[in-house]
């Protein structure tokens, strides 16, 4: 296999260095490396990061291939600098058996744009009543390590307890979509001043916080670890902070859009802002940024949720919830965390690659950029500023809230085990 020399890249934002890829591995990192026999990529001071890992992606295949497929979703991932995505289980059929998770895993392998790690459902059909075959999914070729009913909350306390206990047998983790169902009946947006004014059903913060509080206590009680999906409120941050201070094995994620957008945007009634959990207030946004900076929130996860145009080009009540995120994630994190001085690029690498790979046990990913490591890498032009143009998205769906918005940063190159999947912003 060929060699590639990345010349003058700021590894994790540090001083410019050369990185030599040989085959699937990083051969050397240092100053003035020989380009002999290697294809040269002039990095010109761009930032080199370990390939990004997304613990929360909806690929929609099988069942909703009109929204996204494993192929289009992984191409979107490569465009955004990701080398691994964890595919959520709320497909049709639900990924609650070894057969479905293996199908998704194989499609990822065949297409080769990034590794696909299927997430298994916690309960059969995501109905919250009966545990799915967690062990069989773990033992399948897909080797499932993360289980989630995402899209729905595992709201029965006994089922949640059993799931937490059961996955201990093989080191799995349960990722909870925290949403108390009774408190969110008819909910359409964050409950607060804006929802009252717009007459849209309120989605109270406590519906998320009460489940998180319960689940960290359950995890503590049974001595298991729990991962909380897409934190959206300041109160959720406080609970996770408290749990960590008590030594409870909890990890948590935040989406890029919850780091940037607020419920004020819903005043447009534009369903592009309709998302689960809902956009919250400025105060929540600031708390989430701080928590990501200080490590209370461990990782950024996109919750990439593609929907076809017609599911969003309608009135608010009829619109589907969710937004695409793979191709804009790094830009939003740069805008909200790096350009604000809250996080440096080493911190971004930690929150978007190292930690998510650890939580999901994605071997070979989230590794240091150093000799002998797998060449899963992302090159970012951090000086770039430009308008988001969804027409150019690789995702099959275009439901982005950032259309026409200026965001910093652009992923120019992505390598998966030494093979370029993205070159000069173009998919290979």
């Amino acid at each position: 296999m060929s060699k590639t020399l990345i010349r003058g890249a700021k590894v994790l934002g540090g001083e410019p260095q050369d990185v030599l890829i040989d085959g699937g591995t990083i051969a050397e990192v240092g100053g003035g490396l020989s380009a002999e026999g290697a294809e040269v990529v002039e990095a010109d001071g761009k930032v080199l990061l370990p390939g990004l890992v997304d613990l929360h992606t909806h690929l929609r295949e099988p069942g909703r291939e009109d929204s996204e497929t494993v192929l289009t979703g992984t191409r979107a991932a490569a465009s955004g600098g990701f080398t691994t995505v964890f595919a959520m289980a709320n497909t049709f059929p639900v990924a609650d058996t070894a057969g479905v998770v293996e199908q998704v895993w194989r499609l990822g392998k065949e297409h080769g744009y990034c590794d696909v790690q299927p997430i298994g459902a916690v309960t059969v059909g995501l109905d919250g009543r009966k545990l799915a075959e967690l062990g069989a999914m773990h033992e399948s070729a897909a080797g499932v390590t993360v289980f989630s009913d995402d899209g729905k909350c595992v709201h029965d306390a006994v089922i949640m307890r059993r799931a937490l206990e059961y996955v201990k047998a093989f080191g799995g983790v349960v990722a909870q979509h925290a949403q108390e169902p009774r408190l969110t009946e008819g909910a359409e947006m964050n409950e607060g001043i804006v929802s009252a004014e717009l007459g849209l059903g309120g989605w109270p913060a406590v519906a998320e916080e009460s489940i998180i509080a319960r689940d960290v206590l359950l995890a503590d009680h049974v001595g298991s670890r729990v991962h909380i999906c897409h934190l959206s409120t300041a109160g959720s941050v406080e609970i996770v902070r408290w749990a960590k201070s008590r030594g409870i094995a909890v990890t948590a994620e935040v989406t890029p859009h919850h780091l940037l957008l607020t419920d004020e945007l819903v005043r447009t009634y534009n369903p592009v802002y309709k998302v689960n959990p809902p956009l919250r207030t400025e105060r929540d946004v600031m708390a989430l940024r701080e928590a990501l900076a200080d490590g209370t929130i461990d990782i950024v996860a996109t919750d990439h949720a593609p929907h076809p145009h017609e599911d969003k080009d309608c009135e608010w009540a009829a619109a589907a919830m969710g937004m695409v995120g793979l191709e804009t994630a790094l830009s939003v994190v740069q805008e909200t965390m790096v350009d604000t001085g809250l996080l440096d690029w080493a911190g971004v690498a930690d929150r978007m690659s190292v930690k998510p790979a650890q939580i999901g046990q994605a071997r070979g990913h989230g590794r240091p950029v150093s000799a002998g490591e797998p060449a899963n890498l992302t090159l970012v032009d951090t000086a770039y500023r430009g308008l988001v143009e969804p027409a150019g998205f690789a995702s099959r769906s275009r439901n982005t809230p950032y259309e026409g918005r200026e965001l910093p940063g652009r992923v120019t190159h992505t390598w998966l085990r030494g093979k370029a999947t993205l070159v000069d912003g173009k998919l290979t």
């Binding site: 001043i193 007459g199 309608c314 009135e315 009540a317 009829a318």
Partner: protein, 325 residues
């Protein structure tokens, strides 16, 4: 005036007073032997009702016909909101037919706003009630009724409701009428108090331009008008209050309570009334209750709104007032 009427909050004080004054002129048409003006001849207005409301539809239809508009009634009953394309598809059909105005009633908050702002259609959009959001013509007819009763019909011309104390009682949380009224009455200078059990008040209400009270009895003596809001019986199942009897005892309006109001004060209700629970027959049938007037005033207000949105600068009533003599 703006091109659409989506929310009472969009109206300035001058807009609102202009509508009320125009409605006074329109009201005179109703007293004529031939209750018709040529003002909107040749214009097409569609009443697009995704949610049942015979009262509101008939009121708009009467207003449109009195202005000589061509009227199309489109009842999309049963076309489910979950089938998202329906509103857009319908809008584009109407656009192709060259409709001048769409009066829309929809169960989903924000549907009229989307209709007006998504480029689906070019027509003027009038919100005839959307979800729990707004019902601006209802607020206007309520304000019109208050101005006539509390300020005086012709004496009211050009005037607002400065200093009038208005109390709204009941299910504020689910009421588009309450939202619209708070916005409009505040704009018109009135002091608004909302009275309800805490379960029926929305989160964030402390930012609204009004007072809030849980106690009806202490509010009544300070009220120039008391508007009872409709309480839907199904709310009881969702535990918003313990029993109908308890609700009625704490927040219902009966003769004893009405006696605590100042002598000039009026009782209003957007209808239809649930007699017994929110208002007793004694109160509903008293001459202080304006429910019937509100219905009549609704037609005048809707004529005024449609005329101002579509009629441009032509005088609304082409024949001078002297004709009435």
């Amino acid at each position: 005036m703006q091109r659409h009427l989506i929310s009472a909050a969009d109206l300035t004080r001058d807009d609102a007073v202009l509508i009320l004054d125009t409605a006074e002129e329109m009201a005179r048409v109703a007293d004529r032997p031939i209750k018709k003006l040529p003002t909107l001849r040749g214009r097409t207005i569609v009443n697009l009702f995704f949610e049942d409301s015979t009262r509101t539809r008939i009121s708009f239809e009467a207003a449109e016909k009195r202005l000589s508009a061509d009227v199309i009634n489109f009842t999309a009953k049963g076309s489910s909101v979950s089938k998202g394309e329906s509103l857009k598809d319908t809008a584009q059909t109407l656009e192709a037919m060259g409709v001048d105005a769409v009066v829309i009633r929809h169960g989903a908050s924000g549907a009229p706003y989307r209709l007006a702002n998504s480029g689906w259609i070019d027509a003027a959009v009038v919100n005839a009630g959307d979800g729990t959001h707004q019902h601006p013509t209802q607020a206007l007819l309520d304000a019109f009724t208050m101005r006539r009763r509390l300020v005086g019909p012709d004496a009211g011309l050009g005037q607002d409701l400065e200093g009038k104390r208005i109390t709204l009682v009941g299910d504020v949380l689910h009421s588009r009428v309450a939202r619209s009224n708070v916005d409009l009455l505040h704009t018109l200078g009135a002091e608004v108090t909302l009275v309800a059990p805490p379960t029926l008040l929305p989160v964030g209400i402390e930012t609204w331009p009004c007072e809030v009270s849980y106690d009806l009895d202490s509010t009544l003596p300070k009220s120039d008008a008391v508007m009872m809001l409709r309480v839907q019986r199904e709310r009881m199942n969702a535990a918003f209050f313990p029993t109908e009897r308890e609700y009625s005892r704490r927040y219902g309006l009966d003769g004893d309570r009405m006696a605590r109001m100042p002598g000039h004060a009026i009782v209003m209700h957007p209808g239809p009334m649930v007699r017994g629970m929110e208002i007793t027959a004694e109160v509903a049938d008293s001459d202080r209750c304006t429910v019937v007037e509100q219905v009549a005033n609704g037609v005048s207000i809707r004529m005024a709104v449609l005329y101002l949105l579509l009629g441009g600068n032509e005088p609304a009533v082409t024949h001078p007032r002297t004709e009435e003599k």
